[in-house]
Amino acid sequence: MDKSNPVASAVKFRGGGFAPTPLRGVGALVFFALIAFAEFGTRSGFISALTLPRPSDVLLTFKELYTSGLLWKHLLPSLTRLAVGAALGVSAGICVGVAIGLFSLVRAGLVPVVAAIFPIPKIALLPLFVIWFGIDEGSKYALIAFGTFTPTVVATYGAVDNVDRTLIRMGQSFGLSWFSIVRKIVLPGAMPGILSGLRISLAIAIILLVAAEMLGAEYGIGAYILEAGALYDLERLFAGVVILSVIGVIVSATLGLLERRLLDWRT
């Protein structure tokens, strides 16, 4: 080899990949493609009416629901149940979670209890709740509250545990009162964890809505879906499921907004 004139070649690029980049519109495109496929399939007949409802029929059913005023008749009780149940469960969950995070005695006493009730399918307790809280709104609030309570507790005390200890040390070194430390350091420090726990809790609340409306609900999105299932009315079933999805998306977007407001210090 000629030492004075070595061959020069570009260094081979080995980096790249493993870095998710946001691609706008792809999600919407996939949605659109799936719906278009279902529409085409049901129209041409290679997907039978028994397998999937025609998307345009679902839309029509939805429109009917809206124009007949039944939409609000179903939506309002459901939203009330979600709001009241989740508010009860989440606020109790945050209080208990913070108490577990702060007090060793509460932690020793309640962590095993929470671990024991976490895996219970709350639906299984519905008949019991009916006896305790009545077949009307009480049992529905209780089911949703109970379902959101445990994940909120676990997320909250995890978040409190994860608050940077040096910040607490700092508070103590400046002679801040215990209450100030909790209010100004522990709670804001735990807020990101609590909010991401809230995402899970509220999704669970929506899932439990259908279960809560299994017993004795005349109106409600869950009742509507159950009725559509019993009638094997796929259009109504899908219309109801889409409403639940939309509620989920709205809740998630609201939480995103809340996060941006409360956690504007992050980025």
Partner: protein
């Protein structure tokens, strides 16, 4: 159904090809393997009798009984091709599946008949003490049902209409949940077959305040149904099934209603399927209490079926343009009530 994308269909076809040499041995109409859906209720006795006494086998059918917890999944199982024949009440779901060309009603089974104990109207103890001693006092009360569009919904509505009262209908999904709600006074009233109604009333927690037959005298409670494909393309097999089923009905009626056959032997037979977890002595009264009329020859009361369809349509529970022909294939059995 032939255009349905169905993994199971494909698998069945593949399995069929592979198993072909063995199938050839049992060729012909004889020993057709079929599955019959049933609930563990006395109202399904005809299937049990036809199975136990070999009437199905005599008809060349190799029957496997498939048990379900509720009527609704049974209708869906017919639609999905998992079972071939079943007996269940007419509900909104059944009509909806018929509209989608998944199923057809081909015969009748349980009927209300004057003079034979039929379904009972029940009131909770609280409501009873409150003055609900007859169905006419049900105004403003709540009535239990499994779901909207169930047979309970139909019965309750018809009773309310004839009494001129307004009731609130509470969906509770399962019979067990309805019983619990009625016993604890969470709902005020319900209607149910006698073998469930009588023991409940006996305990004092609920009271019988009337008979469904007073309001719906010839109510066709349950029907025999199958897939549309079986009804249209498997005529021989469907007729064979209905024949055997009718023999079962005859035996049941002779023993339990006409008392011309051995009642004890019949109770023994039914006890193998119904209340099997209780001892014979305890099960027997319930089985006897549950006796209702099963239509001779699986005849179908078309007037009742038409009325039911009309009611489901008027309540907007099913499409208003479903015709009775989409629901019923009237070519198999005697049609009554017309």
């Amino acid at each position: 159904m032939s255009n349905l994308i169905n993994r199971r269909t494909v698998l069945k076809l593949m399995g069929g090809t592979l198993a072909a040499p063995f199938v050839l041995k049992h060729a012909g109409a004889a020993n057709r393997k079929i599955k019959v859906g049933a609930l563990r209720f006395t109202s399904h006795s005809a299937s049990f009798v036809a199975f136990e006494r070999g009437y199905f086998a005599d008809a060349g059918l190799d029957v496997e009984l498939k048990f379900f917890q509720a009527a609704q999944p049974m209708a869906v199982a017919i639609a999905s091709g998992d079972i071939d024949y079943a007996v269940t009440a007419i509900s909104g779901g059944l009509i909806s599946l018929a509209q989608k060309d998944a199923i057809r009603v081909i015969g009748g089974a349980l009927s209300e008949e004057a003079g034979i104990d039929g379904q009972k109207i029940l009131a909770s103890d609280a409501a009873y003490q409150d003055g609900v001693t007859t169905p006419s006092a049900l105004d403003g009360k709540s009535f239990g049902m499994s779901t909207a569009g169930s047979s309970f919904h139909y019965m309750g509505s018809r009773i309310a209409a004839q009494e001129g009262v307004e009731m609130k209908f509470k969906p509770l999904q399962k019979v067990g949940a309805i019983i619990g709600a009625l016993k604890s006074g969470q709902i005020d009233a319900w209607s149910i077959v006698p073998h469930i109604a009588k023991p409940l009333a006996g305990s004092g927690a609920v009271h019988i305040i009337g008979n469904v037959s007073d309001y719906l005298p010839d109510y066709q409670v349950t029907t025999v149904f199958t897939s549309r494909k079986n009804a249209l393309e498997e005529r021989e097999m469907s007729e064979a099934f209905l024949n055997a089923f009718s023999q079962g009905i005859d035996d049941y009626t002779a023993a339990m209603i006409d008392k011309t056959a051995d009642e004890d032997a019949m109770v023994d037979l039914i006890h193998k399927y119904v209340y099997a977890d209780r001892e014979r002595a305890k099960a027997a009264p319930s089985i006897i209490n549950g006796t209702m009329r099963l239509n001779k020859g699986a005849a179908l009361n078309m007037a009742s079926v038409t009325d039911q369809l009309a009611w489901f349509q008027s309540e907007n529970l099913v499409d208003s343009d479903i015709s009775i022909d989409q629901l019923v294939d009237a070519s198999y059995v005697d049609i009554t009530g017309q």
